[in-house]
């Protein structure tokens, strides 16, 4: 089950965060800091799956933006990896701009911030991948 979904830039600022299980607000920032620190400290050579406390973190880097998904043990890591890419493709399609990826959240928030918040929900609904193709 997906526990949380984060989009973070290289400086460590959260661009988008969606939690599928309740986490206290001050614990959230702590969690995000630690997660980002472990993702940023990895080089290109290392694999995209990290073990963090009792989650597994699966992250993917797109230029200056990191997308991190935290899952529990039962998930297939590679399917989630694919899912992250699918999500980015959906965003690309929807907002029809392909380059500078760090601008992407700016665009999201400029046009329809709610859409950006809802689109994790349309592809992954309450912690389970829901639709795959770009409907």
């Amino acid at each position: 089950m997906i526990k949380f979904f984060l989009m973070v830039n290289k400086q460590g600022q959260t661009r988008l965060s969606k939690y599928y299980e309740h986490v206290d607000i001050n614990k959230r920032t702590l969690l995000e800091t630690e997660v980002i620190k472990s993702c940023l400290s990895r080089s290109n050579e290392q694999c995209s799956f990290i073990e963090y406390k009792d989650f597994k973190l699966i992250y993917r880097q797109y230029a200056a933006l990191f997308i991190v998904v935290g899952v529990n043990d039962t998930e297939n890591e590679m399917a989630i990896y694919e899912f992250i890419h699918n999500f980015v493709e959906v965003l690309d399609e929807y907002f029809s701009r392909v380059e500078p990826i760090d601008e992407l959240p700016k665009i999201c928030s400029a046009l329809e911030p709610q859409q950006a918040c809802f689109s994790p929900d349309s592809s992954s609904f309450k912690g389970a991948a829901s639709t795959t193709p770009i409907y």
């Binding site: 959260t14 590679m78 890419h85 309450k126 795959t132």
Partner: protein, 819 residues
Amino acid sequence: MLNRKGRRWGADACVVGFSGGGVGAEFGDPLRERMVVPSLKLQDLIEEIRGAKTQAQEREVIQKECAHIRASFRDGDPVHRHRQLAKLLYVHMLGYPAHFGQMECLKLIASSRFTDKRVGYLGAMLLLDERHDAHLLITNSIKNDLSQGIQPVQGLALCTLSTMGSAEMCRDLAPEVEKLLLQPSPYVRKKAILTAVHMIRKVPELSSVFLPPCAQLLHERHHGILLGTITLITELCERSPAALRHFRKVVPQLVHILRTLVTMGYSTEHSISGVSDPFLQVQILRLLRILGRNHEESSETMNDLLAQVATNTDTSRNAGNAVLFETVLTIMDIRSAAGLRVLAVNILGRFLLNSDRNIRYVALTSLLRLVQSDHSAVQRHRPTVVECLRETDASLSRRALELSLALVNSSNVRAMMQELQAFLESCPPDLRADCASGILLAAERFAPTKRWHIDTILHVLTTAGTHVRDDAVANLTQLIGGAQELHAYSVRRLYNALAEDISQQPLVQVAAWCIGEYGDLLLAGNCEEIEPLQVDEEEVLALLEKVLQSHMSLPATRGYALTALMKLSTRLCGDNNRIRQVVSIYGSCLDVELQQRAVEYDTLFRKYDHMRAAILEKMPLVERDGPQADEEAKESKEAAQLSEAAPVPTEPQASQLLDLLDLLDGASGDVQHPPPLDPSPGGALIHLLDLPCVPPPPAPIPDLKVFEREGVQLNLSFIRPPENPALLLITVTATNFSEGDVTHFICQAAVPKSLQLQLQAPSGNTVPARGGLPITQLFRILNPNKAPLRLKLRLTYDHFHQSVQEIFEVNNLPVESWQ
């Protein structure tokens, strides 16, 4: 950086202060604000926040805006409410408090405009949750929206319900959601199905409501609906075994769906890098795994399909590999044919050779799961696994380490140890402890010769001395003590190691002990096994004094060194002035323990010189159970002191543990205390004159019958070998007095985290009927801290054509098994 946001500040006070005190008068007066300053659009706010150069500046911007927003909420401006709430939600995401927006969410949800509703529902999802009573107020709005029939609105409502719906809300709205499950529009249906998943998680009784529609939903063609249904069925099956049995009927249908997916050609809608709908495939495979586990019939139906998926999937891209990985997991878990299992292991082997690190990671993880059941198959890939040890990636090398340790057996132990020791030298610090303890454990199990064993332990102590477990020192001293022929060799090697480096405490302690015991062999200088070295008496004494005086030595280490010096007084032939001098200096040492020893030894020199030789004789082999001789008493005190002073003990090696069961988190709290020191009376010399006595043989522990069902019985018998008191050997015997054979018998066990468990291979997995040859299996449990033993057993077997699974904790474990 983000950690600055962890700080809290009195937000309310500041915000109120701002709107009252007036940094800018225009923010203080709501009427003027509406006329003069239009509210910021979200985009502008975001730009402003990003433009702030420092944390303080950003906070200022946000505080101003929050004041603005609060004022606007107070006025009740309906036109811009959604914009204000949107800004508030953005600010909330950055980590600032936003609870004053909760009521606004309700108002927005109740409004009729879609824009308002959208922001309102989003706010509800982010700001409201079960712990605030306000959340119940939206139940009515959701109910209205669900029955309205406007699809986007229904979608929003379902989304919100599934994110933050509490148990009461779920119960109230279950009928609505059930109705929506059967509506024609796929957009709403798929959301309704996933909302049902959430409802079942919150209120398990609702399973009965959502179970009947599942069969019908499986016939749908829309992938979104199928995906949702499979998730729903998975959730139902995981929650209740009755549902599991019910859904076994749909296995053929699932097989059919998956087959269509796999053989279908390219379809623009569903294809991701050449694989048609990998997400749906993965979900179906996962559900098949749950349904096929321990069920012969379902597993048979799936065999062909799994082979087909495994061979047909295109593995050049990640999507294909994801599907293949899930297939392998499923093959491993169900009762698959032997050929299929071999196929699975080969696929994993292929993954290991792949250049993509992600794939290698998942391969190593799955092989670790497989290693217990298909040990020989995994052994074939041992060279590749060992290669992976050299990875720079921490996750990969950790996995490779666990797998390598699991693969060590008596035939490959020398080669593997070499690799592992090389790894120990170069591995990152957090893996060192695991690696060291793993090496020591494996060495204990499979050491071909004592000398090799001693060498290995020595090597580990020199490389990773600070990371080894507390009892490594005691183990090594006992090992050396027991290996008569190797005394000269060990003392020579230890002396060399000590001469090079006195900072690794465990090594120093063992070396000091050895030099004390076997100093005469060291000075004799005629060991055959390593090159002869002429060691001078003075050098030895100087070395021990150096250890005594070094600031790196722990008090326990000093104790060892002092005792060693004392013992040397009888072993060396020169005069003892130097030793006497050192001993008398330490008679006024600040450390009480050391001072006491020194005073005692001094007295030994002065008043009891005639007894000195007898007292300081070579020690007999240490029996750690029995009553202590004087040296042994000091030894155990030293060991106890060491465990207090030693660095954090390492985690027990978990690679041998089958963790299909929850590990019992026994009384681990009180286990961490070292064994208590018994205070020796000050100055009394009585205990110096205690004669060693033979410890009584340990009484045999009675057998225990732990399980009985329909003629199948399970007995445990306990043995505690006297030479290793931390070890407990349990022999599990399964007997069958019924009329039917017991087949596919598997017994698994779990113990609390403070103990270590190793299961050896059982003698078989079939018990013939009417008292046929029983199955025996040996468990080895290491319990160095003498923690209370708890044991949980899981049995699975087939009996009378039914598969039986039993999980139970063993009660009435005899106290002698762990004390």
